[in-house]
Amino acid sequence: MTALSRDDVAHLAHLARLAVTDEELDLFAGQLDVILSSVAHVADVAADDIPPTTHAVPLTNITRPDALGPCLHPDEVLAAAPAAQGGRFRVPRILNEPA
């Protein structure tokens, strides 16, 4: 497998929304490469005709009764938010123009 470069790790950090530091980029580039190299041998298993597994007891089409039940109170939910305003979550701007 090709080694993960420092730039690759910077790209992964961006995709994962992690503002990692330069020192972390150096550290993680080495560590992630070692970890990924050590797990790459899953590709050696001949498994072309093998179905994937996720659950010990396969379950399909899980439903529950369409009944009214209690729900969380908005005040209690918004109390846990880092910022709330007017009964809603307040978020930083999501478009590129200044606020």
């Binding site: 994962a16 050590s38 093998i50």
Partner: protein
């Protein structure tokens, strides 16, 4: 021994009997444990927070019920240490992460609700590796817990706060979660019993998700019977978890009681060659293999037939796990977006959401969480998905088929629970791969979704060793039956439970 110390060293069954008989009140039991936490948790750091008022109120409710003549459940009034990955209404829950400091959940997890309904007293929330990623508690955002057998060693992880609390006399019962071994490995290295139920056997509703296809909550106890009683309390179908199995809870308590009689006649025990057997002993401490081998001989002495089984794909379990778990974690942890709960950093009115999110996650997550998120992001990215995540899911099938073949030749499978005794704090923190190896024996059952228990087999160099007993899906009761037989035979031979050999500080 003072009355108070007997309350904090007894089993859950003994404590519940004292309360039910009126010989001691639930409030007195809870206070004895709160006192013990006050005196000892400075050294152990098992708890992230102690809910003194909530615990005393729950205990008083049990005492009031008893006074009113209401019937009590089998664990009513018994205190419990709850891993901080389990949400608790009104009680701060962080999953060991700084990103959730101050978060007060507005709801209870299903298992929290079931614990409360059983009259079990939640003493507080226990330390853990951040988001359950680790095998030592050293990845906690709040500092590590310490092993009561040797304070310079790890108590296991990720549920190491709960194992330190139960082994250290701070709580007779504990709840952990096990994604790749996080109940069984800490139980093994602290001399406790710990069980990972069949995936889907215990509701995941209200567990802060790490790897959704693997996460499973389960019990810690000082005895197999205590552990079974807690299992029965928390298990069972839950409509709030779509992966919950709609089937009766396996009869684990009856199995624990039956197993204690010590008869294993006719039981076929498969020793897994690939987990420390001949030709596969690299990385296993000789003292661990000796102790587990002695436990297998004890089983033979109880009438079990011992066979060797081979599970050739178990050698791929570590690789498959360290692709699947980070992949699912990278998706699950996307919820920490600085909007709905937890930390927000850099919201200065100028920066946009993307930047605030990245600064928040950078500040709130520790290095192991960042590593796993990035590995998962890589493994799920276009062009790599099939080679990594897709292939790892197929390896799960092959591991399940290995189990199915082995269960054709044996009723239960056994191995060490972890390759070594508790290692010193700091010994593996700079080497992620060495840390991951602590889960070598527990990963196959995690990937297959099958039940497995760790029960003490003895000591190696004065530190506990765990025997892992694995059973087919939904046959959790088999784990308990065999574990109880091993426990009662070893206790009889030793003259006392292993935990009584813990050094008194």
């Amino acid at each position: 021994m003072t009355a108070s110390s007997s309350l904090t060293s007894g089993t859950a069954v003994e404590i519940a009997a004292l309360i039910a008989a009126g010989e001691v009140s639930a409030v007195e039991v809870t206070q004895a444990h709160l006192d013990r936490i006050a005196s000892d948790d400075g050294a152990l750091h098992a708890f992230l927070r102690v809910d003194t008022d909530g615990a005393l109120a729950s205990a008083k409710a049990v005492d009031d019920q008893r006074a009113a003549g209401e019937s009590l459940g089998p664990l009513a009034g018994v205190p419990l240490a709850l891993k901080d990955v389990v949400v608790t209404r009104g009680l701060e829950t962080t999953s060991g992460s700084k990103i959730l400091v101050g978060w007060i959940p507005p709801y209870d997890a299903t298992i929290t609700a079931r614990i409360k309904a059983a009259g079990i007293v939640i003493l507080g929330k226990t330390n853990m590796d951040e988001f359950a990623m680790g095998s030592s508690t050293e990845n906690s955002g709040f500092g590590p817990s310490h092993n009561p057998w040797d304070l310079d060693r790890i108590p296991g992880g990720s549920s190491g706060g709960s194992s330190a609390a139960v082994a250290g006399g701070l709580a007779p019962l504990g709840i952990g979660t096990d994604t790749g071994g996080s109940i069984r490995q800490p139980a093994a290295v602290t001399g406790l019993v710990g069980h990972k139920p069949t995936y889907g056997g215990v509701s995941r509703y209200g567990l802060i998700a790490f790897s959704s296809s693997l996460d499973q909550a389960g019990p810690f106890g000082r005895t197999v019977l205590d552990t079974a009683l807690l299992h029965e309390t928390i298990a069972g179908h839950d409509l709030s978890d779509s992966t919950s199995i709609p089937a009766p809870v396996p009869p684990v308590v009856a199995a624990a009681r039956a197993g204690a009689s010590g008869d294993l006649t006719g039981l076929r025990v498969g020793v897994v060659r690939e987990l420390g057997g001949h030709g596969f002993a690299d990385g296993y401490e000789p003292g661990v293999l000796t102790s587990v081998g002695e436990a297998v001989e004890v089983m033979a002495g109880l009438g079990a037939e011992i066979v060797e089984v081979s599970c050739p794909h178990f050698g791929y379990a570590l690789a498959a796990y360290y692709l699947i778990a980070p992949s699912e974690a990278s998706s699950n942890l996307a919820r920490f977006d600085a909007v709905r709960y937890g930390l927000r950093v850099g919201d200065d009115g100028v920066r946009g959401l993307d930047e605030v999110m990245a600064l928040t996650r950078q500040a709130g997550f520790g290095p192991e969480v960042k590593r796993r998120i990035m590995i998962g992001t890589y493994a799920l990215s276009s062009g790599y998905y099939e080679a990594y995540y897709g292939q790892a899911q197929k390896v799960r099938t092959l591991i399940s088929r290995d189990f199915a073949a082995a269960f054709g030749a044996a009723d239960v499978l056994v191995s060490p629970s972890t390759p070594t005794v508790a290692f010193p704090l700091g010994a593996r923190t700079d080497n992620p791969l060495a840390m991951y190896a602590a889960d070598l024996c527990t990963l196959p059952a995690s990937l297959a979704g099958t039940p497995a228990i760790s029960v003490p087999s003895g000591l190696s160099d004065g530190l506990p060793v765990g025997l892992q007993i694995m059973a087919p899906a939904l046959a959790d009761d088999r784990c308990y039956r065999v574990a109880a037989a091993v426990e009662s035979a070893l206790d009889a031979r030793r003259g006392h439970p292993l935990l009584h050999e813990i050094p008194i500080r």
